[in-house]
Symmetry: C2
Subunit: 239 residues, 2 copies
């Protein structure tokens, strides 16, 4: 069931029952993918896109010496490689971080939908544009925020995004990343990611144990992060 994705869409725009049916019918197949699998390699030719129904995925790019930068985290409700519809191949790898359930949507169906339902076409376009906005905020983090601010910012962002799809409650959520993976999101070494996490704990801002994150002081955390959710475009949109 792709109800998560609709939930996320409905956060920003109205979806008629007709449009809902069209989206549901676009799914060719539901697949389960175990954790830590490389799902799409950069450069591969693509003919379908993946809507993430459950679990976490990461998009990342590597340098020659093996340094890896995660360019985007995806959670339930995200259309992980929708940009592949126009690009035909990706410039980053996509891998699962946890066991995942995905809906496979063939590109020809996306093409059909965009040609016949201009409003949905704009909704899809909008969604890749929000992904780009998230990447810009990441650039701001990587370029200008300190390690602690960067990590705090990531935790704030994920809280908001998971909340929309009802994967968070009581300022807390499942966080399946290892510290190595977390460090790759933040442009830090594992060692420093650990130090930074300790510091967030010491200040009473977050707890993280056995893959479960709890925000102990949300205002405090948002403060050190300079978090402002504007870039997530959560307000209602007239498309």
């Amino acid at each position: 069931m792709i109800t998560v994705h609709l939930k996320k869409l409905r956060q920003r725009i109205e979806i008629s029952s007709d449009e809902e049916r069209v989206i549901r019918d676009s799914v060719a197949e539901i697949r389960r993918i175990p954790a830590d699998q490389l799902v799409i390699r950069a450069g591969e030719e693509l003919s379908s896109s993946l809507m993430l129904l459950d679990g976490w995925m990461a998009r990342s790019k590597d340098l020659a010496e093996g340094e890896r930068q995660v360019t985007q985290l995806h959670v339930a409700g995200d259309f992980a490689d929708l940009h592949g519809f126009t690009l035909k191949r990706l410039d980053d790898d996509i891998a699962t971080l946890s066991d995942c359930r995905v809906a496979v949507v063939p590109h020809e169906r996306i093409r059909d939908i965009t040609e016949r339902y201009p409003r949905l076409a704009r909704a899809f376009w909008f969604s890749t544009n929000v992904d780009a906005a998230i990447q810009r905020e990441l650039a701001l983090s990587l370029g200008q925020r300190s390690a602690i601010s960067r990590m705090a910012h990531l935790f704030c962002e994920l809280y908001v995004r998971l909340n929309i799809v009802e994967r968070a409650s009581h300022d807390s959520y499942e966080f399946p990343l290892t510290q190595r993976e977390l460090s790759e999101c933040l442009g830090l070494t594992v060692v420093h990611a650990n130090r930074t996490l300790q510091e967030l704990r010491r200040r009473g801002l977050v707890e993280l144990q056995s893959r479960h994150l709890t925000i102990r002081n949300r205002l405090g955390l948002e403060g050190v992060a300079e978090f402002n959710p504007n870039y997530l475009y959560l307000d209602e949109h007239r498309l």
Copy 2:
């Protein structure tokens, strides 16, 4: 004349004369904007987008203490805030870095075009997706590349992008940014940006004087940058 933009589009896809006319007719007005003007402030409501015909623009985000990160540079042929069409407001500021000529395209015309010319709709969508790919490569730079590699990478990327629209020749192009602005693109301080530039000069890789950049050793520069233009999606696309 929006010939530059068409030149850039034609690099990737075929444009029929009919489609060309539609694009030309979408322009409501041509404006000149002097250097160092804030053109669009993050959050403003938008009703048109700007196609850059000549000159350079930068999109940037600031932190409270004034640290600024440039999230994207735009040159002739770029549709600077096309993402504003679906987002309705931007999350970053747009400013001119040099005197600019821009074509103003009202959103209602973009909407018309996308509804009546699905191929052009995909071309516009494609173009915002390539912008996002450039931002991902920037994240890789900011997160993982050293200062010298980052700067080299930027110079390589700009060479390729300017070449497409015939703004570069003989491995050299006009580069109107001050060192402060350059440093804001790279997540460095001005002082270190200067040191890094000196090092690139010392190694005989680039020259930069009076706002003119010359690549002295392209292979060498691409080497230190680990530059691979895949992420610019310059190959022909079937949309």
